[in-house]
């Protein structure tokens, strides 16, 4: 297979691919949510748990682990809803604690959003604003990523698989 240099500019067909402009819009939407709600912190991840953006005060939270767990939580809750005949799109998972509450919601069909708020924030307002944010985020990822064409991600590198194999060797201790 001959790989041309222009292939790096092509959109990768499977999975989620965000252009710089989409990335900026997403961050702006999340900052807006953080301020308006107000939220303590917000995490947006791809459905398999890979983190897209984090806003707010995260403290010492293990964000990488949290991304995987939030995605797992959503997947499990959706499956519970399906098994019990209660599945609907854009359902929310709410956890209420004595000091804080957290919401998990799908954002379109590719992303999941986690938001933690202080208990003083009215639940109805928080629910409304996270649903509106999820809708906006879904719109952003459905936009054509026009700027991707200007970026060379160097997927065309012939020896990329070897280089990544070497990368794994270099971080490995026998």
């Amino acid at each position: 297979m001959k790989k041309s240099n222009s292939m790096a500019s092509a959109e990768v067909p499977s999975g989620l691919s965000l252009s710089p402009s989409q990335d900026q819009i997403i961050n702006r939407i999340l900052r807006d949510l953080l301020e308006k709600c107000p939220a303590q912190f917000i995490l947006l991840a791809e459905l398999s748990g890979q983190i897209i953006s984090v806003q707010g005060e995260t403290g010492k939270t293990d964000l990488i682990g949290l991304g995987a767990l939030v995605a797992g939580d959503l997947a499990a809750s959706q499956e519970i809803a399906r098994l019990t005949g209660q599945y609907q799109h854009a359902q929310l998972i709410l956890r209420e604690g004595p000091e804080t509450a957290s919401f998990i919601s799908e954002a379109g069909d590719r992303m999941v959003i986690y938001m933690r708020i202080h208990k003083e924030v009215p639940m109805g307002w928080a629910r409304l604003i996270i649903q509106e944010t999820s809708r906006k985020l879904a719109e952003v990822t459905s936009m054509p990523p026009e700027e991707v064409e200007k970026i060379d991600l160097q997927l065309s590198e012939d020896k990329l698989d070897t280089l990544i194999g070497d990368g794994l060797d270099s971080i490995w201790h026998e």
Partner: protein, 197 residues
């Protein structure tokens, strides 16, 4: 897979699949132990009271910049016990590649076959094609008395052409070879898809 073009990040999901107690979690524990902390996350494990995997184990590897890219590899295991079939299907969602960890003990032969077919069925239900999803076979527990050889397990699963490695994961043997092979397979697939997008 998730690509952030701004950060030049390539995020890949690899799932370790296989029958109960075949060594899936052990693979991730060895990777966690042998990779410098600067290049990996903490190991997240959701376990039962009996220390068996309940939902999944998770570990992220960061390789740093390679040819202008920042690849991040997300490793997951599935719970192998029969009752967690629905969970296995969920964890496979969005997988870019799969490592099938077989137990080489002859007594576990049938469990390997059942798990293999179970995996094929769940890949299909996640709209993942067996033909287009990179899969690497790891024949673990080669130190077991009378352990089946790699070639025998391939024959048993009818996957003679599949890339495979013998392993004793508990000692770290075969763990890196398997990880490198599946990562390379996934990268090649991403490149191929990019070329024809």
């Amino acid at each position: 897979m998730y690509i952030n073009w701004q950060l030049r990040e390539l995020n890949l999901k690899i799932v370790y699949y296989g029958p109960a107690s075949s060594g899936k979690t052990t693979n991730l524990e060895q990777i966690h132990r042998r990779v410098d902390a600067a290049h990996r996350s903490d190991l997240v494990s959701l376990k039962t009271y009996e220390d068996r995997t309940l939902f999944f184990d998770f570990l992220q590897l960061e390789l740093g910049k390679i040819s202008g890219l920042t690849p991040k590899i997300h490793l997951y295991t599935v719970p192998g016990q029969v009752r967690y079939e629905e969970v296995r299907k969920l964890v496979l969602r969005g997988a870019d590649g799969v490592v099938f960890v077989a137990d080489s003990a002859p007594l576990r032969a049938n469990d390997n076959i059942i798990a293999w077919h179970d995996m094929k069925s769940h890949l299909r239900s996640n709209n993942l094609s067996m033909d287009h999803t990179p899969i690497v076979l790891q024949c673990n527990k080669q130190d077991t008395l009378g352990a089946m050889a790699l070639v025998e397990i391939k024959y048993m699963l009818h996957v003679q052409d599949l890339l495979g490695f013998p392993a004793i994961a508990v000692n770290g043997e075969g763990v890196l070879d398997t990880l490198k092979a599946i990562t390379r397979g996934v990268i090649t697939k991403v490149q191929h898809e990019s070329a024809y997008a």
